[in-house]
């Protein structure tokens, strides 16, 4: 108890009354020396940065569980290596540069988990560590740490790993094939996207990829691919959780999904057989993971709702172009990073005008991102 006890010693009070009253109740006044002085407002709502990151990790839990179910201990190995090395690099950077530790905002842990979700369970350990280095040091801390990075760290790291260690990064195990044993090369298979691309390149039909049996396997995640991206179901559960918890706005994922749906339908309408159907594109590869968990990264997505829609449409178009016409079978991380680069421009164009502004001249504003000096 820290309240200062004050008897009812008001001068205008009769002594008799005073003794009677102080027996029945003592009035406690707050101790002014322990009051907090700060400017308004005095109440807060909503979770803080650290809690938001933890909630995102919680929403990733279904995808993590699915990856462990389909890829076993190898998935766990990759997950542990990337997360631990991301946390370690974050700690080391803060230690060396003499800053306060930022591990308690959990953003490095989240980056590590997202990076694992984006890599194959067969990736060698050194590639995972190199990816973590790129994600934390090069894509985040060099720009000034959390909040200043223009590009999504996990997406940058994935691109670097994919281009730098292409062989190691594109060996994907078939689901349920391995749990403990080291994997013989024979058990690795192509991802659905890779298979579809080579099928259409060889002139074979892509009808197989539109069959309901195949789509069902892609939906629940029984295909080969990176850890977190195979199970559309698990990602949808987590993504809906993110929207329900109001951590992300629905505009970005919905506009990405709608754009992909429209683009793929148009391509299939005008040149049938080029690529499998809409559902195949949605359920395979990293599209849903990217749409719900990576494109919506607060630091690297536009500030306004309008901007978010433009951003989502841009990602949708880019990912379809790369998947259908590009040389890579999957283009989600490329699309996200390319659109990240456009975010400052989108912010500038899609800005809301201040309440009560009249003409463009008086309402012209200059939104900025990153550090302002």
């Amino acid at each position: 108890m820290n309240g200062k006890k004050v008897d009812l010693m008001s001068d205008n009070m009769d002594k008799k009354e005073l003794t009677e009253k102080s027996e029945t109740q003592r009035i406690i006044l707050p101790d002014p020396t322990r009051l907090i002085l700060s400017p308004s407002p005095h109440i807060q709502t909503g979770p803080g940065t650290g809690k938001i990151m933890l909630l995102v990790i919680a929403c990733l839990a279904p995808a993590i569980v699915a990856s462990l179910m389909f890829f076993g201990l190898h998935a766990l190995r990759v997950l542990v290596i990337t997360t631990a090395s991301c946390a370690a690099f974050e700690y080391l950077w803060n230690r060396i540069s003499g800053r306060k530790s930022t591990l308690n905002d959990f953003s490095a842990i989240l980056t590590g988990i997202l990076l694992a979700m984006n890599t194959s369970s067969l990736t060698p350990a050194w590639v995972c560590v190199a990816g973590a280095f790129i994600a934390i040091i090069i894509a985040k801390q060099i720009y000034g740490g959390l909040g200043q990075n223009p590009f999504n760290p996990a997406a940058v790291a994935r691109i670097a790993m994919l281009t730098g260690a292409a062989g190691a990064m594109t060996r994907f195990p078939a689901p349920n094939s391995i749990f403990f044993a080291p994997i013989p090369d024979a058990l690795t298979t192509a991802t659905p996207l890779g298979a579809a691309e080579s099928f259409s390149a060889m002139g074979k039909g892509v009808e197989y990829f539109n069959s309901s049996a195949f789509l069902w396997r892609a939906f629940i995640g029984e295909t080969s691919g990176s850890l977190g991206e195979t199970s559309a179901l698990a990602i949808l559960i987590g993504g809906i959780g993110l929207i329900a918890l109001r951590i992300i706005r629905w505009h970005i994922p919905v506009s990405i999904i709608c754009t992909v749906a429209v683009f793929v339908s148009l391509v299939n309408h005008f040149s049938p057989g080029t690529t499998p159907g809409v559902l195949f594109h949605l359920f395979s590869g990293g599209l849903l993971l990217g749409a719900f968990f990576m494109a919506t990264d607060m630091v690297t997505s536009p500030v306004t709702v309008k901007g978010g829609i433009v951003f989502g449409i841009g990602i949708g178009i880019l990912v379809c172009v790369i998947r259908i016409y590009g040389s890579y079978p999957e283009g989600m991380s490329f699309a996200i990073v390319l659109m990240n680069a456009l975010v400052p421009l989108i912010d500038k164009v899609c800005y809301i005008r201040p309440f009560g502004h009249q003409n463009i001249k008086s309402g012209r504003i200059e939104p900025r991102r990153g550090e302002i000096k």
């Binding site: 006044l29 940065t49 009560g356 502004h357 309402g363």
Partner: protein, 451 residues
């Protein structure tokens, strides 16, 4: 009547049930009052009494100094004491006049201001003079002198008087209580103000969580001839009671950046000020006491109290039963939790614009640690002025006032929504206040240079 919804804003937990729905309790006579001199926007009034003078309740103790100033009155019959320095509600030490109370049986009103019963037949100039003489200021927050608000320049044509009963701040219920218990007086005060402005349209905006107040005001509206009164329930959304937001919600008119409500034909008065106008005109009582909400989870008996201006915070808290045992008070706030001022002393006197006294537990009180901005856009989404808050926050923090000005930091209401919703707990309002002060200083310097 069509209600326009302003963009932005948010809906914090109300906590109004702590103090709502009860009668107004009176504070017993205190032995000593300290009346702050500077209680209004503009020049502080000049003291016109000296030590040892006898004053009655309502006697003028300081006269208006200039146009933007109002006189002050004694809250009690008694003897004038020294000029003392007391901690002021906004953190700085201020000058105050001490008044020692006479015994309870010698308390009486000063009769200098005679009641004006036939106010309908009285000229606007006399009524306006009465409002000035009664020392009435805005009682919601800024304490802008009411007679100045009721004297628009002749070229401005006003057509609507808006009575602000929104009371969108969480915890506060003083306006609600006033409207429930004194609806007729509030509306009569509004009608007097409308007569001064020469208009007949009155709109009362009340947030729809105050059902009783809405129905009391609707009933009372029938009994007031000569004006058209519309009582409009508004959606519950902070800051619904912001002047610009309220005008937009009720009329659909947008107050352009850098102009005043009178430019769109509106005048806005707080319901507390209307009650004070009624009291001054029909009873001849100057503004010496007000209804204030004393609330918060640590308070033993929260509620609405009629508090004489100049009563100290400690006296008010003692009469509200003090705080509960084992409560750990982190903040005492004059005003609401969104825009009020945190206090550091229990000697702060209540002033004309103290709409609430709020005690927060240490765990409830916000602490802004100021982490890095995530650009999440929550502040932009919720800003009632639609400002690029995330940009402004960083620009003002790093003293880029040129960039802040380009992004309209001067339009900021300081409503506190952006800080309240910020996941990084950035003290945005603090940065904006500093930037506004600096920018005004720069503008003032430039103006002087030209002359």
């Amino acid at each position: 009547m069509k209600i326009f919804r302003f963009k932005g804003g948010f809906h914090p937990a109300g906590h109004k049930e702590l103090s709502a729905g009860r009668m107004v309790k009176d504070l017993p006579l205190l032995p000593r009052y300290t009346v702050m001199l500077r209680q209004n926007v503009g020049a502080p009034p000049q003291v016109c009494v000296k030590k040892g003078d006898h004053v009655e309740k309502g006697s003028c103790i300081a006269t208006a100094a200039g146009i933007l100033s109002v006189p002050l009155h004694s809250p009690v019959s008694g003897t004038v004491g020294d000029m003392v320095t007391v901690p002021g509600p906004n953190g700085t030490a201020v000058e105050a006049l001490e008044i020692f109370s006479a015994p309870a049986e010698e308390q009486k009103w000063d009769g200098t201001l005679a009641p004006i019963d036939e106010w309908r037949d009285t000229s606007a100039a006399i009524l306006k003079k009465r409002i000035l003489d009664a020392g009435i200021t805005g009682m919601g927050g800024a304490a802008f002198p009411t007679h100045v608000k009721l004297s628009p320049p002749p070229e401005k044509v006003l057509d609507t008087l808006i009575l602000n009963g929104a009371e969108c701040e969480p915890f506060l219920t003083s306006d609600d209580t006033l409207m429930r218990l004194h609806a007729r007086a509030v509306l009569t005060g509004g009608a007097i103000a409308a007569k001064i402005l020469g208009i007949t349209e009155i709109i009362v905006g009340i947030e729809e969580n105050k059902n009783e107040a809405v129905s009391a005001m609707e009933q009372a509206a029938w009994g007031i001839p000569g004006v058209n009164i519309a009582v409009v329930p508004l959606p519950v959304k902070y800051p619904q009671g912001g002047e610009k937001q309220l005008i937009y919600a009720l009329t659909g008119r947008k107050v352009v950046l850098g102009t005043l409500p009178m430019d769109v034909g509106c005048a806005v008065l707080n319901v507390g000020s209307c009650y004070a106008i009624w009291d001054a005109v029909l009873n001849g009582h100057p503004l010496v006491e007000r209804i204030t909400t004393v609330t918060g989870t640590p308070v033993v008996s929260p509620g609405n109290y009629r508090i004489p201006i100049g009563a100290s915070l400690s006296a008010v808290l003692e009469n509200a039963g003090g705080i509960r045992e084992r409560s750990n008070v982190g903040k005492i706030i004059f005003g609401g939790p969104m825009m009020g001022f945190a206090q550091y002393s229990l000697e702060v006197p209540v002033s004309k614009n103290t709409s609430g006294i709020l005690l927060l537990e240490r765990t409830e009180a916000a602490q802004f640690t100021g982490g890095p901005c995530l650009c999440c856009g929550k502040c932009v989404e919720h800003c009632p002025m639609q400002l690029p808050v995330s940009t402004l926050s960083k620009a003002c923090e790093n003293e880029r006032y040129d960039l802040a000005q380009k992004n309209h930091v001067l339009a900021c209401l300081e409503c506190g929504v952006c800080s309240s919703v910020c996941p990084a707990r950035r003290p945005n309002v603090q940065h904006f206040r500093k930037a506004k002060t600096e920018l005004k200083e720069i503008q003032w310097k430039e103006k002087n240079k030209k002359i």
